[in-house]
């Protein structure tokens, strides 16, 4: 038997050894986080875009089918309710515009730089990374559309995540619930700053808030803009449970993301961040008020 395979093995073994070494080198580069492989990844990822579309096509087709076969009356009801929502949103926007203008004037009085409106880009989900320990999605907008690593991604309800990798045609988004994700937040009610970490499946926690922190269940969290990665004042989540044990140094604060992570197919990429020139002064000013 050995002689039968002998010749073939002689060729295959060094090849296998070489491939193992090549893989180890690639994995080593990945672990070191050097980023040398990004151009390669980008080329390969562009080539698999059709596969992503094919895999997502049942869902896209399903959406169209549902639309196609919906009863006329249902569509009209939906249309009417959307129109009502649009009207409400418009009036809300008009009021917000006035407040923003007032805010800008006040900021001028304090010599703070004016805030620029955010540039938003609508993106559609084309893949959910299938590994259950990871909370990442791929959207259909990439470098060619102006998407870059570090940009925030939101949906209509709140912060969704951030772009961690782009190819010319697609962008990979890390969700706020991923265990490796954290976002600086502020409690609207008490203006306390904190960091909201993703907890994967389990509870999502704030990073070590002191036990004396003014946080109660039901508090709304918005992005604080500290760290200058996320734009300010987007809703991030709601505090659902607070456990304060006086013998402990830190409180246990559980929060739930407000973005519809499992349901939104359409998301918004915040292209130009609302970058404040002096975030530290800004923070001090807000703590002071």
């Amino acid at each position: 038997m050995a002689s039968l395979f002998g010749a073939r093995q002689a060729q295959v073994r060094p090849l296998l050894l070489g491939l193992t070494l090549a893989s180890c080198v690639l994995l080593g580069i990945e672990k070191a986080g050097l980023g040398w492989l990004l151009p390669v990844r980008s080329v390969l990822a562009t080539m698999v875009v059709p596969v992503q579309y094919v895999a997502e096509s049942p869902h896209i087709a399903m959406d169209h089918l549902i639309e196609f076969f919906s009863a006329r009356s249902r569509l009209m009801r939906r249309n009417a309710s959307l129109e009502r929502e649009l009207l409400m949103a418009r009036s809300e926007t008009a009021r917000t515009d006035a407040i923003l203008a007032e805010n800008d004037r006040l900021r001028e009085l304090f010599n703070l730089p004016a805030r620029l409106p955010d540039d938003l880009l609508i993106a559609e989900l084309i893949e959910v990374i299938p590994d259950p320990t990871r909370y990442e999605i791929v959207v259909d907008k990439g470098g060619a559309h102006g998407v870059a690593v570090g940009q925030a991604v939101i949906d209509s309800a709140g912060v969704f995540g951030q772009v961690v990798e782009t190819t010319p045609l697609t962008g990979r988004v890390l969700l706020v619930t991923d265990p490796s994700h954290a976002i600086p937040v502020q409690v609207i009610r008490s203006k306390v700053f904190a960091i909201a970490s993703g907890g994967g499946k389990g509870p999502h926690l704030l990073d070590n808030p002191p036990v004396t922190t003014d946080i109660v269940a039901g508090d709304n969290l918005v992005s604080s803009g500290l760290g200058r990665r996320f734009p300010r004042d987007y809703p991030v989540g709601v505090v659902t449970r607070v456990v304060k044990d006086p013998t402990q140094q830190y409180a246990q604060v559980v929060w739930e993301p407000s973005a519809e992570l499992a349901r939104s197919r359409l998301v918004l990429v915040v292209l130009g961040g609302r970058q404040d020139a002096e975030p530290s002064t800004d923070a001090v000013a807000e703590i002071g008020d």
């Binding site: 090849l15 893989s23 080539m47 698999v48 596969v51 895999a55 590994d131």
Partner: protein, 173 residues
């Protein structure tokens, strides 16, 4: 008439494996995600057994790169796993042809278990959460879907007259 002497079927089957690897299942409980078969292993192992002259560790490794970007995993991980799967398939080719379906499934289970263990270990070393289910779930389902994969691919291979089919295993298992 038959581009690449039927090799396009191998490419197509790999694309199919990629689509199945990322196809989204919305319904069902969360743990269902752990039962997603490792389609790449099933397909590459089958070609390693059925057409050993057409696939080898090198082509399997290159195919693995595409799976890695698709799954947003580290480059080179799926490649080396597939290369070993093909290598073992080629080595066992003649023996496997004598095996019953159950025995073949057991072999696939063994290979998928080892590969799953290697994969999860590497991912763990790259700072991902450890998951024992991630080792056993896919291995189990991979061996369960293997007969279906082998059946479909063997029918297709004979229909498109893929060159280089090994005699006995060109047949359905």
């Amino acid at each position: 008439m038959n581009p690449l002497r039927g090799g396009w079927l191998i490419l197509l089957s790999l694309v199919g494996a990629m689509v199945l690897a990322v196809a989204r299942v919305d319904a069902g409980p969360d743990w269902l995600a752990w039962l997603r078969p490792d389609w790449a292993i099933a397909v590459m192992f089958y070609w390693g057994v059925a057409a050993p002259s057409r696939v080898g560790p090198m082509s399997a490794w290159v195919a693995g790169l595409f799976f890695d970007v698709l799954l947003a995993g580290p480059l080179g991980l799926t490649g080396i796993c597939l290369a070993f799967a093909t290598y073992i398939a080629k080595r066992l080719e003649e023996r496997l042809s004598l095996y019953t379906l159950w025995q073949q499934m057991a072999v696939v289970l063994g290979i998928a278990l080892v590969i799953g263990l290697v994969k999860r270990t590497v991912l763990f070393l790259l700072d991902l959460e450890w998951s024992t289910w991630g080792v056993f779930g896919p291995a189990l389902t991979t061996s369960l879907v293997y007969p279906a994969v082998a059946f479909v691919l063997s029918m297709a291979a004979r229909r498109v007259e893929l060159q280089g089919l090994s005699g006995q295993l060109g047949r359905a298992p």
